[in-house]
Symmetry: D2
Subunit: 442 residues, 4 copies
């Protein structure tokens, strides 16, 4: 993690922020029963209860236990149950067994949350700056779990033959189909990318005329995760990006053209995955006599051809791009293009209520709706070093085998994402709201 050392959040602003984040989590699970919140539908997912407790454990452990003298852990069995992957924090319950915990109940976990909330808000005014940084980190951490909570419950409901809806969706207003993609020529040459976590550290000595006079993002302020830095120069080759992401209608054309049956389009590992899993469409799509439908947090509904395609894997994204005569953007092409845009705009998560990708309302947009697969492997930036201690395990140890996604989705809490934000998943994973923007060489 990387905390906003140069920011020193004001305690009362931090308290408001903390309270708001914690309240959103509670609001998100309001439609869920104890049983709904208990099930783990696949190894990659976690029960809603677990998300609620794990985020609480994070605050309790790294803030209250470590920084509040005399604080006593609520339940000494919880660290074993609710540690996610912090090896330095000791043994923990096996990830694929998270769905075996009917106890503690949802009520008990909400009680645990309330107790920790009160303790933390009480302690906050007197916390040292380092600990306040950890509170801020915990808020960003909880926002990540809010998105996972939604995608995990979506998966869980999808495997129930009753196909329950979490929320009723809004009435569908017919929308005009977006026109053909427009290609936006990207910047070429050296650009500065990544988040400048601190002015104290010169993480690069490279100077380039392209990058010095022209800061492409307000990259030096605010919070960022450790993997977003150090800020550094990167070299862009001539290229263009599509002005919008691929739509469901375009994806249906790929399917109709035999895209899933033609090995030529696919990476070797992707083709093996398609064959082994019998993949023929995005996750949650089903074909019936009436055409394609998809499952969402508002239940099963017809696929909207105008909306961005979601729930596709990197393998599918890459195959589609090849079929379309294009390629995926690199993460730095994307960052350079996106950095002039409002990262708080677009279709992101504001409150509890049906979330789904929506048709574009026109104009290039880079944030919200769907995470966009890039062609960049998730690897450390030049000069990257993980933090000391348990929180150092936050991102660095995942830097093999995964690909970077950018831009946030309809399930990302608004305010969470930024141009330098790096999300990452394995190339076969697709239960997140993941989509595709095309790029091409010029």
């Amino acid at each position: 993690m990387r905390t906003e050392r140069d920011v020193n959040p004001d305690p009362s602003a931090l308290a408001s922020r903390f309270a708001a984040v914690r309240a959103l989590s509670a609001a998100l699970v309001a439609p869920l029963s104890d049983a709904d919140a208990t099930i783990q539908s696949m190894d990659d997912a976690s029960p809603a209860k677990w998300h609620l407790a794990h985020t609480t454990w994070f605050f309790e452990t790294f803030v209250l236990r470590d920084h509040v003298p005399g604080y006593r852990v609520q339940d000494d069995r919880f660290p074993f149950l609710f540690n996610s992957y912090y090896e330095a924090e000791g043994q923990r319950h096996a990830r694929p067994r998270r769905g075996m915990l009917s106890r503690p109940s949802l009520d008990e976990i909400m009680g645990y949350r309330a107790t920790v909330n009160a303790a933390l808000l009480g302690a906050l005014p007197d916390l040292p700056a380092d600990a306040r940084d950890l509170v801020a980190l915990g808020c960003h951490h909880e926002e990540q779990h809010q998105e996972l909570l939604l995608t995990d419950i979506l998966h869980h409901f999808s495997v129930n033959p009753l196909q329950p809806a979490m929320w009723q969706g809004a009435p569908k207003v017919p929308v005009a189909m977006p026109g053909p993609v427009e290609w936006i020529e990207g910047r070429t040459g050296l650009v500065e990318v990544g988040h400048d976590e601190s002015s104290k550290r010169e993480n690069t000595r490279i100077e380039s005329s392209e990058s010095t006079g022209d800061t492409i993002d307000a990259a030096g302020s605010g919070f960022a995760f450790d993997c977003e830095g150090p800020r550094h120069a990167a070299l862009l080759h001539p290229h263009a990006l599509a002005d919008r992401t691929v739509t469901n209608g375009e994806w249906a054309a790929f399917i109709a053209d035999g895209g899933y049956a033609e090995p030529r389009h696919w990476l070797s590992d992707g083709w093996a995955w398609v064959q082994a899993q019998g993949i023929v469409a995005p996750l949650y799509w089903e074909r019936s006599e009436g055409g394609w439908s998809r499952f969402g947090l508002d239940g099963r509904r017809p696929v909207d051809p105008a909306a961005p395609v979601a729930h596709v894997s990197f393998f599918e994204a890459d195959a589609y791009a090849g079929w379309a005569g294009a390629r995926l953007p690199t993460e730095f092409e994307w960052e350079a293009a996106a950095s002039g845009h409002d990262s708080n705009g677009g279709n992101q998560l504001d409150a509890a209520g049906a979330v789904e990708p929506r048709p574009s309302s026109g104009g290039p947009a880079f944030f919200g709706d769907v995470w966009e697969w890039t062609g960049s492997a998730f690897r450390p930036y030049p000069g990257f070093r993980a933090a000391e201690g348990a929180v150092g395990e936050y991102n660095g140890k995942f830097m093999s085998g995964q690909f970077v996604l950018r831009g946030g989705s309809c399930a990302t809490p608004r305010g969470h994402v930024r141009a330098s934000y790096r999300n990452f998943f394995y190339p076969h994973q697709r239960w997140q709201f993941t989509g595709v923007r095309l790029a091409k060489d010029l």
Copy 2:
């Protein structure tokens, strides 16, 4: 299944019986939350909710739908969800996915039960005899699921690191250790075994002086499952049976003698299982500084050396017997010995509340406490034929790879078991209350 065709249960007695069975199921799940009732902790087990719904589906399908004109199925999605293994009844939810169903909720399933209860009790006076037979079968069927419900919830709670107890156990009264086994010489020669489902069918033409004058059981009356018949002559060789089952204390001696580490004692498949699974003790046993403890429906407690060992597999039972210089009884040796005893006696399930095997109070006992592994493969009796239709799938199709157990357990509803009763499990399974009685050749 085999229904008591010569019995023609009286409708009002049947109604009482039905109501009592259904009420016991409800009482058993009273301590469970919706989440408790939702989890499936392994493929062999099912969620409590599923047991409650499946037994209801059984009545609804085979009685109400098939025999009550105008009856309309409560929810046409339930047959898919709650059919267990009846191929003739069509597609069904995959067994290992039974734990993915947070919906319908426990409340909804209790409502489904209430509706079906009312419909069935209303229809019962006018049901034809065949349908009344199916009601009786459904009651016996539900009793089987009551035992499974308890053993499944025991397993589920055992994998929760919090080790919750379903019920508080009774205070432990110290009991004298049972003395050494006494050997009871068994009958030799031809005996009649199995249940005489009907006087109409002569299932054997074998006459033997041993068996004709001396009916070893009141085998011709009452209900039995199809696999218990036809009644037929069997040949017993000279042998003796132990007067009680093996105790935890004796089992601890087997462990201490290296019983789990010596391949010589084990069947080849058993040894492979021990090695692959790292088996070193009965299921639910754990060793700590204070000695062995076991997990039960009353939580984790010290192992009682005087109580019968439970939760051992056939492989373990067979290895123990070899180590002890003995063998397992055949199912007919057991049946011949047990048939003079009261099948309603001993430690069986009477009501909701902590159940566990208890030390013997003296005198040979064959029923209750633990199911006893026999050395007999579960195969059809001479002249066996499965019933027509879906209920014909009840037992016959499971007649490969499994071994017969006899006698009932502390979790078997009292009145359910009888001398001819054949339970059956695979040789590695041990989450039931399964124990061992020794036998030897004379």
Copy 3:
């Protein structure tokens, strides 16, 4: 194992027998290259080289090492490589890794055989009776491996897309289709079964008028494996057996009638196996435009409708029997019926050369062509006790999960089998020459 203690084989006869058995093994592998003899095509099978070496290790270990003073093991690495499953003989090479041994070469193993042959023949005149019994056992043991060698090489060649033939088959002479099955009524009541290994031990005190005056087999002389005894009384219920095994033509009718697609015919485990493995016909059958062909040691050829069906599993045999309105015989029904027939007759292995099941030439026959699945689980006879020491692991430890087959096959060395002979395999296995004889209740 059980050796012919009351026989005390004459040393020179034993030497001839030993030489003949050893020579047949060598003749069988004559068509094989070193590479042919090295491959292990599945876990259940072993390389031909391994069979050649393992049978030699058996003689070297249990006779030469244990009974010939001063004998020095040829290569102290061979016991690790060529012990099959004798836990008492220590660590051994993992069974599924037997195909990783290009060294020692086939030539080296033939050299190992020659050395052990010479040593054993030299030592034989002076061997004590116990050791001579072990030589006799080793000959029977090697005959078992001769059959396995053939079925294993058949499987190995079957997975090679080139489908090589081991031997050229004889020209096919058209044969009249066998007529409909004739039913032979079996004996009823008590019969004596099993092999009488010794007159010294009274293994049963049961007397019955049926069995005393009428010995159904010359069961008291000659060699038998331990699992064939003790000889004991068994009770037969009224039944009849088919006078021949099921033909390929009859099996094709089962297929054509949808036999593999109808769960009603199948045991539950069998149906799961059919579904998981995509089973639609006997092993080695393939359907092309010209109809069904099968792969044999003479390569791929059309299925002969008049010949006995082979390479079917117990699950298939049981399903076929149910479809045909019959059942499988018990092993004792089979033994009682077969005991009056010449166990050396029929189509058995005489010499190297193409072997395959052949159409019946008329008259009831019980030996040769195909092993016949019985409905009897492979379990110990009353009074069975395994021998002390490593050879005690010969059969007893396999007495769970397997079914008994009777009668020998076209790949069984003539003279090896007898009425009391019990072969056994798991219910899904079918790479042996395994077929079906129907039985029915009377």
Copy 4:
């Protein structure tokens, strides 16, 4: 693939090259028996016979069949058997079943090679330039398989408990331990990397003062694989590289320090791999009382502490680097540093005979001994496009999940590798001669 279009190899030079490559393959397998050449010891490896046949199929298919009028394929079953992964070339034998082919024999495959050799040499003078490019490609392709053949046979012999040696090694001459690593400061800023396959295509419009005047490699001539281009500018950040690779002695210190037991050093996927596989040392290392030994093509011998460590995975390499306070180089840092060095120097494969990594003789060396893991994911260069047709599957479709290795090994045919050469393997793979060079940020 990328052929030397601007080179137009002279037919007679190409014939000599072809003959030499083909002869080396034959020489490499001279010590192998048919059985040795048949075994496949793991899915990742292939039998020696298969390498010999597959490389021949490559020439036969893409040159003779496609470019020589009237050529008739030797055996129409071979394409199915010996196609590796070219989807466009149709169905093929399953990769994990390559070890099931005792037929065709090694002799038959050597005959197949001879026939194709003769046909190709006969046709070569008249081949069009495109086809000559394919001959050249086939030679490079066969060189890759020569290295795989050696590493695959090494693995195969390693799993044989007899631990056979392929060749006798040279007598060991004691060598002084290399001194501490010296750090070589690398170039900073823009550099040109990759192979310039053609002057006809401007693959980048980026100009930088660093790269224009100062070509870092003779990158515009000779053969290269498609994934090595297009040549393009890359940006290097301040860094230094070790002057040599990590030694066995240094690795032993990592082990002794608990390197394999401390999750802090490991990537998350790497730690999971270490735990699941029980990894405690490089592949082929074993610890006995006398210390560490390793298995090589010269059998099992003591580990030489002065020699480069080999047979480590990316996960191990990365963990070691973290433990050592360093990191892995990027592929462009490596390429920039190596481009001034002689790619034909160092310990590479010259002829059949024992190969193993050897202690450094001093001075920075970048080629030979061991492939060096880089921290760069194997992804396409800017402007990369796979060739049309089947040979387009050569590299591009493997561009996910793998990491780049550079520099060649002791088993790489001398002349095969160059500064721009990109080898690639999955991060857990380690049966190649794979080692580690450290890098650090400045």
